[in-house]
Amino acid sequence: MAQINLLQAVNSALDTAMDTDDRVICLGEDIGKFGGVFRATSDLQDKYGKARCFNTPITEQGIVGFSIGLAAQGSVAVAEIQFADYIFPAFDQIVNEAAKFRYRSGDQFNCGGLTIRAPYGGGISGGLYHSQSPEAHFCHTPGLKVVIPSTAYQAKGLLLAAIRDPDPVIFFEPKAIYRAEVGEVPETDYVLPLGVAEVVTQGSDITLVGWGAQMHQLHRASNMAAKDGISCEVIDLRTLLPWDVDTVAQSVGKTGRLIISHEAPRTGGFAGEVSATIQERCFLSLEAPIMRITGMDTPFPLVFEKEYMPDYLKVYEAIKASVNF
């Protein structure tokens, strides 16, 4: 096993997917010879040819529409959207088409072979249009699956699972930790299950739930809290739709406290869904209000990015507030 970073793990997953299945096709803006602006598709065109790994014109609605058609025909389409901020022109194709394709046809047709990859999130001084976390928009769309890895190991296993999953999957990659996040990743083929959360740290006093780059803030906050004698159970959701309610509910049943954290703005963010559901399931176990530590209800800022972000200090303060409630 080699030590590689999250970006290399994505590349390895794509390589494995293309190698093990001729029907896998990668497409997107600048992903061909250039290997993508982040280099996630490096070498794939050389290895598998221009027919299976190619540049598209700059049209996100076209990329997704085209990929739906490919998938409906029997190919396995892995489309890259250059930044998650640019996924919105494809919103109709994703929400009205991909998500409803199987249902509306009575299962005569499906586009389950579709996976849409997009780097998401802040922390790179990207301002309004290179920083957004749009996951909640897609989590309100039955028919889609939404997956976000937080480590290199997860990235490869979850991306392979997403590509091979029989339903369309949106796969958001935490670009801020593309290189910083390094770990042991098998060179061999493996998948991690979709729809299953990972309890990363066991604990007894409070449950912390997050996904993607935000996991690192949770770990850091959890370590700080440990020094205060507070034991945090840290859960990485990994799949947001459908999400693993049981694992979170079981944990909160034990700890009685819950903090959910994400970078996206608070109002309408996915933390609200987790909070509402867990409140329904664990009402009698709750010893303090479920808290949300999130981005603020503004567009993503530039100079005040650090202040906007739901960092470990904000999580740490919330842990203390919850425990002292």
């Binding site: 076209g62 409906a72 199987r102 249902y103 509306r104 389950g112 029989p166």
Partner: protein
């Protein structure tokens, strides 16, 4: 690819009139071959199949309009006036070619072999509907007949068709995709995305633009300012032809040629069929408020079916007697099918949650269990023949779709 190497020293703007795209016309209004025209090779069997299917759809459309007025189905939408544009084009393709249509192309589905019962099952949302009762009437689909299920959202099928065709090319199965859409749908961003991608990625797809003068109430003069849709194809580097959409031979000839170009050349082709939507947009529409009777009359006189009939009669391939019998048979077949299929039950309640995903996830199973419990408390309130309810539910001035 463009070379951009022709320079000029004097300032001049290029205008729409610099690219004049003529309309291919083979049969004149009397159903006679134009003198300068080259008629396509078409055998009697194909010609009669085309004619029968055009006629079938005319009868189906009339019957279903009436049935909708009687409250037997919630919604309907005719192909009237454009039968030649649709049947003439689909006849140029092979059965293995995928069809990705808008919603007004039931005639193509009939050409592929969709039965009266199958039409009824979909429109009545019964237990045999291939779409499991999930979509409004006329949203047909058939995997068996390579006819992609219709989506109400305009133009979304255009980039999808490019992708589907790309997949066909990679599979090497000597097939292409034929993608239908209207003059109105051609204004959507997806049109641009799909045509440009098809061109630059060499996808064997034939785009058939049905220019029928209107998009609901909006005349083409308020839809675009150029010379129709055809010049856009040229702009994308797509081989393009405009045809008289009421001239069955022109449409057929163009389609046969287009398919060959698409498959042999691994490239998209565009056909613009010039025709007219003789009926209302749908049963929710009343065109009298936005267009005049003279215009309608003018086009009614160009009726593509009677024009083809004249040609067939001229060739001695058809007789008035056959005509009457054919129509009577179709009327009976369609009415029988309506009567029998409307007695069928609705799909199973489980189809409310199946096919959202390949396998229903836990939260959906739980919601379903809760629903069942709830229904058990109020058995009379739910599951009360919803197909019937459809017939009365819609307000007459709601435009669907």
């Amino acid at each position: 690819m463009a070379k951009f190497d022709r320079t000029i020293g004097t300032l001049r703007f290029t205008e729409a009139t610099d690219l004049s795209i003529p309309t291919l016309s083979i049969l004149d209004s009397e159903g006679k071959l134009r003198k300068d025209a080259q008629a396509p090779a078409i055998d009697k069997e194909t010609a009669l199949k085309i004619y029968r299917d055009m006629t079938y759809i005319r009868v189906l459309d009339e019957r279903m309009l009436a049935a909708q007025r009687q409250g037997r189905l919630s919604f309907y939408l005719t192909c009237t006036g454009e039968e030649a544009a649709v049947v003439g084009s689909i006849a140029g393709f092979a059965d293995r070619d995928m069809v990705m249509a808008q919603y007004r192309e039931q005639a193509a589905l009939r050409y592929r072999g969709f039965t009266s019962e199958q039409f009824m099952n979909q429109m009545l949302s019964n237990d045999l509907d291939l779409g499991k009762g999930r979509q409004m009437p006329v949203h047909y689909g058939s995997r068996e007949l390579n006819y992609m299920t219709i989506s109400s959202t305009l133009a979304t099928q255009i980039p999808q068709a490019a992708g589907y065709a790309y997949g066909q090319k990679l599979s090497g199965n000597d097939a292409c995709t034929v993608c239908y859409f209207g003059d109105g749908a051609a204004s959507e961003g997806d049109f641009h995305a799909g045509l440009n991608m098809a061109a630059v990625l060499n996808c064997p797809v034939v785009f058939v633009v049905r220019n029928n003068g209107y998009a609901i109430s909006t005349p083409i003069s308020e839809q675009f300012a150029g010379d129709g849709i055809a010049p856009r194809g040229v702009g994308y580097g797509i081989k393009t032809i405009r045809v008289d959409g009421n001239d069955i031979l022109a449409v057929y000839a163009a389609s046969v040629a287009a398919r060959k170009l698409a498959i042999d050349g691994s490239a998209p082709v565009m056909i613009e069929t010039m025709s007219y939507r003789l009926g209302a947009h749908s049963t929710s529409d009343d065109p009298t408020s936005y267009r005049n009777a003279e215009e309608e009359q003018l086009w009614a006189e160009k009726d593509p079916i009677s024009r083809m009939r004249k040609w067939l009669l001229g060739k001695g391939w058809w007789s008035d007697q056959q005509e009457h019998q054919l129509k009577d048979n179709y009327k009976k077949e369609i009415l029988d099918a309506l009567k029998s299929q409307e007695k069928r039950p609705t799909p199973s309640l489980n189809d409310l949650i199946s096919d959202v995903y390949q396998t229903p996830p836990q939260h959906l199973q739980q919601q379903y269990a809760e629903l069942q419990q709830h229904i058990d408390k109020y058995p009379d309130h739910y599951l009360a023949n919803p197909a019937k309810a459809n017939g009365t539910y819609l307000s007459a001035s709601v435009q669907l779709p």
